[in-house]
């Protein structure tokens, strides 16, 4: 019951942030040169002034800004982002069509970065200042400084062009019509390089933080007590140290999710994955502001949801947090 109350309280706290983001997207749309009527008239190849004025009235663009903001926010609440004149479709249809690919890329990248980063960080900390630690830490530093687009291109050169192990782009082989497990394996092979290029920088984040916190926790009194009582090293590591060292890493997980979504723009563009990121890039070059603002809003909602889930997870694994 307490966890339910806690969840409700966290949700209520997110409300003002979501409202502010709504106002922000509205302001950005207004700052952008040209409105929906300009786009319509441009599509028709010109119209006379009286007709344009009537169109403006029809779309509510002659109302005061406050009224327009109210209408816009009401529409956002139902995920109505308007019409895309480039795709000739409602924006929400395009967005939800693309959401799956992006989520798939996010989930694979985060799981890879989290599991490998945590494991490598723990190994590096247990053998602090040894050769193993030095190699892992140096790799971490280099991944930390490498932009994902550069990494992606070099992966393509090495693994697609020179070695031919993985496909250059796309989410599945065109015209293959695989079904069942063949299709899953095909998609997985297409996702290896994008996942690797997106996740290595986050892997470096987790690795560095994990190494630092394991070193810190290993010095604490309760670990010494456990060791004095004769706990085996393996049990000590997993049961006593890792469980406590994971807490800051989980926090970072939530904080980094928004950065990861941003990184998807570049990676999806390089590997021509039909996701939200690639759509965002296309929307900028095609000046499709409704789609772009829809992505800004939808991705922010995604971040809010993920942070909410991370908070719940955090409350679950850290018994010290009081759920009041």
């Amino acid at each position: 019951m307490t966890i339910l109350l806690y969840a409700i309280r966290r949700l209520v706290q997110a409300v003002p942030v979501v409202l502010l983001i709504m106002v922000g997207t509205f302001l950005l749309l207004h700052l952008a040169p040209g409105d929906i009527v300009d786009a319509l008239v441009g599509d028709m190849g010109g119209a006379d002034a009286a007709y344009i004025a009537r169109l403006r009235a029809e779309y509510g663009l002659d109302e005061p800004v406050w009224v327009q903001l109210w209408i816009y926010m009401g529409k956002l609440l139902t995920f109505d982002f308007g019409w895309s004149f480039v795709h000739e479709q409602p924006v929400s249809v395009i967005l939800f069509d693309r959401l799956g690919t992006t989520l798939l890329l996010m989930i694979t990248s985060l799981s890879f970065a989290f599991s490998i980063g945590v494991a490598l960080g723990a190994i590096a900390a247990r053998r602090a200042y040894s050769l193993t630690d030095n190699i892992i830490s140096t790799l971490g530093l280099i991944f930390y400084a490498t932009p994902s687009f550069f990494l992606g291109l070099m992966f393509i050169v090495l693994f697609s062009v020179k070695l031919g192990w993985f496909p250059v782009g796309g989410v599945q082989t065109i015209g293959s019509f695989y079904t069942g497990w063949d299709r899953v394996i095909d998609i997985a092979r297409h996702l290896v390089l994008p996942t690797a290029s997106l996740s290595l920088i986050f892997l470096a984040f987790y690795l560095r933080l994990m190494r630092a916190t394991v070193l810190e926790v290993a010095e604490l009194d309760f670990v010494r007590t456990a060791r004095a009582k004769g706990a085996a090293e393996g049990r000590l590591m997993i049961h006593h140290i890792m469980r406590n060292a994971l807490l800051p890493v989980v926090t970072l997980f939530g904080l980094q999710f928004s950065t990861l979504l941003g990184g998807a723009v570049v990676v999806e563009t390089i590997f021509s994955l039909p996701g939200l990121g690639q759509l965002a890039y296309q929307a900028v070059t095609q000046r499709d502001m409704n789609v772009l603002m829809g992505i800004v809003f939808l991705s922010s909602i995604l971040v809010v949801v993920v942070n909410f889930l991370v908070d719940l997870l955090y409350a679950r694994i850290d018994a010290r947090i009081e759920l009041t």
Partner: protein, 293 residues
């Protein structure tokens, strides 16, 4: 401050700079970062000597591989532009964009954080909700939206990068101000009748700045990465040589001449690495208690 620190009360105290350097030097990686940073600065300084004219001009035959022609040591791209000239001039642009964007974001972030942390109450609530909203929107997506609206002029790109990166310094400054505002020295000047703005800027700010300055190196590295990603997508200012743009152009000949994209990429990695290493060294030297491991 540990017991090993050679500051004896009354005796000949070493200058603050030499103590600082001794602590900084302990971290070998940080020293390497300083050397790399020096290299990047030298590249930016030498750009004018190596190529006084336009680095985007056609210098030789297209696609000369690196280390084969002395006139163009790092080779040329598919339009015959000298890659070394692009790298040197790109160092200038990266550093310039990084520096100005960092100053803007730190300046604005510290202002917001200072006001929120100092006054607290509803001012803090409102400012922190706004900060959270900015943190929630994925920063690269917001950057794309801003560039789509403002355009690709270099000034606007700097401004857009600052707009997406001011939140972290704001939170840092807020935490420092909240910790410092109840301290005795602040109470003392307040009782003397000193005004709010004077307390914020002349009394608290100098004490709150060190962690923010350390964080500036992180923002600098992030700003350089953001700019290069924009330029890579072809959304940067086309009038300047930029590492990201060079990589984007190199993508067209990736299959045959991958060095066109690889060389500027290495330049970005080394520059970002230098800033994060220097930042870590500064952090350890300025906050010795936080030293890990």
């Amino acid at each position: 401050m540990s017991l090993a620190d050679p500051i004896a009360p009354g005796g000949a105290t070493p200058t603050r700079a030499s103590v600082f350097w001794r602590r900084y030097r302990r971290n070998r990686a940080a020293v390497l970062g300083l050397v790399l940073l020096g290299g990047v600065l030298a590249m930016a300084a030498l750009a004018g000597f190596y190529e006084p004219g336009n680095p985007l001009r056609r210098a030789a035959a297209p696609l000369i591989p690196p280390f084969t022609d002395l006139a163009v040591p790092l080779g040329t791209d598919q339009l015959g532009r000298d890659i070394l000239a692009g790298i040197l001039h790109g160092a200038r642009i990266s550093l310039l964009i990084g520096l100005v964007a960092t100053l803007l974001s730190i300046g604005f972030g510290v202002l917001v954080g200072a006001v929120a942390g100092y006054f607290g109450g509803w001012v803090d609530d409102v400012l922190m909700r706004i900060t959270e909203a900015f943190q929630t929107v994925p920063n690269f997506v917001l950057l794309l939206a801003l560039v789509a609206i403002l355009g690709s002029r270099i000034e606007y790109i700097v401004l857009a990068i600052a707009i997406v990166s001011w939140t972290a310094p704001a939170r840092l400054a807020r935490a420092e101000f909240m910790a410092l505002r109840k301290r005795e020295f602040v109470e003392a000047v307040r009782n003397l009748g000193v005004g709010h703005s004077s307390i914020i800027f002349r009394e608290i700010l100098p004490n709150a700045l060190p962690p923010v300055i350390v964080y500036a190196s992180v923002i600098m590295a992030l700003a350089i990465l953001l700019e290069s990603a924009l330029a890579f997508l072809g959304l940067g200012d086309p009038n300047y040589a930029s590492w990201g743009n060079m990589i984007g152009q190199g993508r067209a000949v990736l299959r045959t001449d991958w060095y066109v994209a690889a060389i500027p990429g290495v330049a970005i990695v080394l520059t970002v690495l230098s800033f994060s290493l220097v930042g870590e060294g500064l952090n350890e030297a300025l906050n010795p208690r936080q030293k890990k491991g």
